[in-house]
Amino acid sequence: MYLIITAAAAVSATVAWYATAPQNRYKLNVLCLIYWGAAIMWLCDFIVAYISEGGPFPEMSAEAALLGIVVVICGAAAWLVYLLVCDPKGVFKKILKEEPQK
């Protein structure tokens, strides 16, 4: 289930990136790569497990769905940290340089 949720997040992030490209002011390409990287890795994990052990593909349970949501939130949080550190819009520079109002 978390593979499906992560893949859906990857597709959504890619659509958002394409819609805002080529400006890329929010570094959405990084968010896309985070989700796609995880989706590819889990897909490989599931395929190898399916070939070697069999069983349900993919795992469908409430716990797996919750894990998927947690993973998507963690990916978004990692991207947010990257965005704030890079500060492509120069927000922090502007705020910090701004003179205090009298």
Partner: protein, 149 residues
């Protein structure tokens, strides 16, 4: 168990290579800018260097791969923490506590970890090929237009 450690190992190597490549590219860009200015001052011709610089730099390509690997490994780490396979205290991997589990862990790393790493690298190679292909199409397009008329 610890399959994400294989992509992490590749991510470390890729990041180190990326830093070196980016440093070299910055230096060569500075040199090219100087040379270009000299050429333009002498003859006003567009130099061969400008043509070369229109290709996607390797530093940028490697950044895509490192983002894929680090991002994917980070989310897999979250999943492993969720399943109790990674803990915040030494030896960090629960499988390390039992020799029988350790063998299984190394087997999983060799099998699943390698497949994951190869798959991500393969997807990245396709991405690079596609981007280069798109860029070469764009560069050819203005040259084709007069002939089409």
């Amino acid at each position: 168990m610890a399959c994400f450690l294989v992509p992490v190992a590749e991510a470390i190597v890729v990041t180190a290579v990326k830093r070196k490549v980016e440093k070299k590219e910055r230096e060569s860009a500075l040199c090219q800018n100087g040379l270009q200015e000299e050429l333009q001052a002498e003859s006003g011709k567009i130099s061969e260097i400008a043509e070369k610089s229109s290709k996607i730099p390797w530093g940028r390509k490697l950044r895509w791969l490192s983002n894929l690997l680090w991002g994917g490994s980070f989310l897999l780490l979250i999943e492993h923490i969720w399943h109790g396979e990674v803990v915040p205290w030494p030896p960090f991997l629960t499988a390390m506590g039992n020799p029988a589990d350790m063998a299984g862990m190394f087997q999983e790393m060799a099998m699943v970890g390698t497949v994951m790493t190869l798959a991500v690298t393969g997807v990245w190679a396709l991405m690079v090929w596609f981007a280069e292909h798109k860029l070469s199409d764009k560069q050819l397009a203005p040259a084709k237009r007069p002939a089409e008329k």
